[in-house]
């Protein structure tokens, strides 16, 4: 029997497979297709202090092996989450993680305080990398100062596991990761979307209402694997890898690059059952390679 359990800070996950924020709703959207309890955990959609309507339509365009989105953190706000969504999550055994976004440091703090006070949510993922709203936090995510600021404040406001989600739109992601680590982040997750753009040449108009958007999907995987590999070498806290994971092989690519856990994002749109297939593949791979504990695979590439 292979051990698939991994730890992110104090958070124990029964396996390394999580879902990426904004691609899995509140989890319940997928319960027709999979047994949510088979996942290591699921990261619920970006939650802000106040409700947000998000950006105007069109918000999405398909690109080669990927897609651009400009949703802009549409969500009903943290109070709605606590009152209406949180109670429904208790039905599932998998660990729910709340992705938190904000425009000001105080926004992050207030949301985390509310979650700490009114729920027993054990972990938050701090999004300092949303490219789609002016104050989506990408400002925080592209400087070590900004990353430190937010991490420090959230660390003080939330007793549970704090995961800081990093932007790939930087010259050196390891510097940002180190800043988050030094301010007490329990883990970093990467990558958020690459900032991209597409134009309808016949209409001579941008395909997105916001002109630019976030690129996700298989297309970005090589960039994500590289950044996970660089970051895992640079920090001593766990790295959670995401970016274009479409199947079990891809998930292992991230684990071998140094990721302790992985998040499945855009792939959920194409195959709503992909996450459990990935769990099965990882366990089958471990058996095939005579690996008793998935933790042995973390960063285990030989040149």
């Amino acid at each position: 029997m292979v051990n698939l359990e991994v730890s992110i800070g104090n958070l124990k996950l029964k396996n390394p497979v999580l879902t990426a924020s904004g691609t899995f709703g509140y989890g319940t959207e997928f319960s027709d297709f999979i047994d949510l309890d088979r996942l290591g955990g699921y990261i619920v959609k970006g939650t802000t202090l106040e409700p947000r309507q998000g950006n105007p339509y069109p918000r999405m365009v398909e690109t080669p092996s990927g897609m651009l989105n400009a949703v802009g953190l549409q969500n009903k706000g943290v109070d709605y989450f606590i009152e209406h969504i949180y109670p429904t999550l208790s039905a599932f055994k998998s660990v729910p993680v709340v992705n938190v976004s904000g425009a000001k440091v105080e926004d992050y703090v207030r949301v985390c305080e509310k979650l700490a006070a009114e729920t027993d949510i054990k972990a938050v993922e701090i999004n300092i990398s949303c490219p789609n709203v002016k104050q989506g936090g990408m400002a925080f995510g592209t400087t070590t100062h900004g990353a430190s600021q937010v991490t420090k404040a959230v660390r003080a406001a939330f007793p549970g596991t704090v995961i800081v989600k990093l932007s790939p739109n930087v010259t050196d992601i390891t510097e940002i990761a180190k800043a988050a680590e030094s301010e007490g982040a329990d883990a970093v997750s990467l990558i958020n979307t690459l900032m991209g753009m597409a134009i309808d040449v016949e209409k001579r108009k941008p395909c997105l209402s916001t002109i630019t958007g976030g690129l996700s999907g298989a297309a970005v995987r090589p960039v994500a694997v590289r950044m996970v590999w660089q970051t895992a070498k640079a920090v001593s806290i766990p790295v959670i890898g995401l970016g274009g994971i479409m199947n079990g092989r891809d998930a292992l690519e991230f684990i071998l690059a140094g990721a302790t856990a992985i998040e499945v994002g855009t792939a959920n749109f194409i195959d709503p059952a992909v996450t459990v297939k990935i769990v099965d593949y990882i366990s089958e791979y471990c058996q095939r390679h005579g690996v008793a504990d998935v933790n042995e695979l973390i960063g285990a590439i030989n040149r």
Binding site: G25, E29, R59, E62, A218, F269
Partner: protein, 256 residues
């Protein structure tokens, strides 16, 4: 049937038009296609197009209980739908279904007009069948560019009174659908699916005549499950997902 991911076999691929194919599909595992509602759609996986990454939403054109067939009327819009149109008979396509809400029907409304334009005729067939089964014989108004662009006319004739309008006058009445004489009569309800300008014109007509009106929207979507929040429509309740709160909307809930 419960929402699921399922393999379907292509029983027949009928090329109705240079731009349209009618795919007749049946579940490989024989699952009964019951409880599929007019207005709902499927998400089709496109396996053989290099330039297609996401599934493609296609509205359900018809369900044949006797043969357990699901019909999809596919219009060539890009590489994805083009590749779907070419699927040979006997091949397998993977669907997520049934998705979305449904047209609201009641036998209280006796004078019901179904209005379809382009590929928008697709959901009107299943809707018309449903109405007929409820003892309501709908009128159906189909708009097209030209005579050769009219699809599934025989099927529509079976379920109601067919009216036609073409932009070039080559069949039925000349002009856009909202110019058709059928609008001279009083109607209890309009159901409409087609290009956005057409739906907006019908919505205007509905407001002007105080007729209840439901339209089916086709916003671009990624997941079809309410997770990606990409296909949102601005409604009186704010931005909502067309894939879950729609595709069918009462025009009173829309901002146009």
């Amino acid at each position: 049937m419960k929402k699921c991911i399922k393999d379907f076999k292509v029983v027949e691929n009928q090329r109705l038009h240079p731009l349209y194919s009618l795919l007749r599909l049946t579940p490989v595992d024989g699952t009964k296609l019951d409880g599929v509602k007019p207005g709902q759609f499927v998400q089709v996986a496109i396996d053989k197009s290099k330039n297609t990454y996401l599934r493609r939403p296609i509205s359900i054109n018809n369900v044949i209980e006797e043969t357990n067939e699901l019909w999809l009327l596919v219009r060539k819009a890009g590489d994805g739908t083009a590749s779907l149109m070419e699927t040979p008979e006997g091949e397998i396509v993977n669907l997520i279904l049934p998705l979305g809400n449904e047209f609201n029907v009641t036998d209280k409304n006796k004078r019901v007009l179904l209005i379809g334009g382009g590929v928008g005729v697709a959901p009107m067939l299943l809707l018309g069948k449903k109405l007929k089964s409820m003892g309501v014989t709908p009128d159906i108004l189909i708009g097209a560019r030209s005579k050769n662009d009219l699809l599934e006319l025989d099927a529509f004739r079976e379920i109601g009174n067919l009216h036609i309008s073409t932009d070039d006058g080559s069949a039925g009445e000349h002009g856009v659908v909202t110019m058709h004489s059928v609008f001279m009569s009083q109607w209890d309800k309009f159901y409409c699916c087609g290009p956005s300008p057409m739906m907006k014109a019908v919505a205007a007509k509905a407001r002007e005549t105080g007729t209840d009106c439901e339209v089916s929207l086709e916003n671009m979507m990624a997941c079809g499950l309410g997770a990606c929040l990409c296909c949102v429509e601005k409604t009186v309740k704010g931005n909502v997902c067309v894939c879950t709160e729609g595709p069918v909307f009462n025009i009173n809930d829309l901002t146009w």
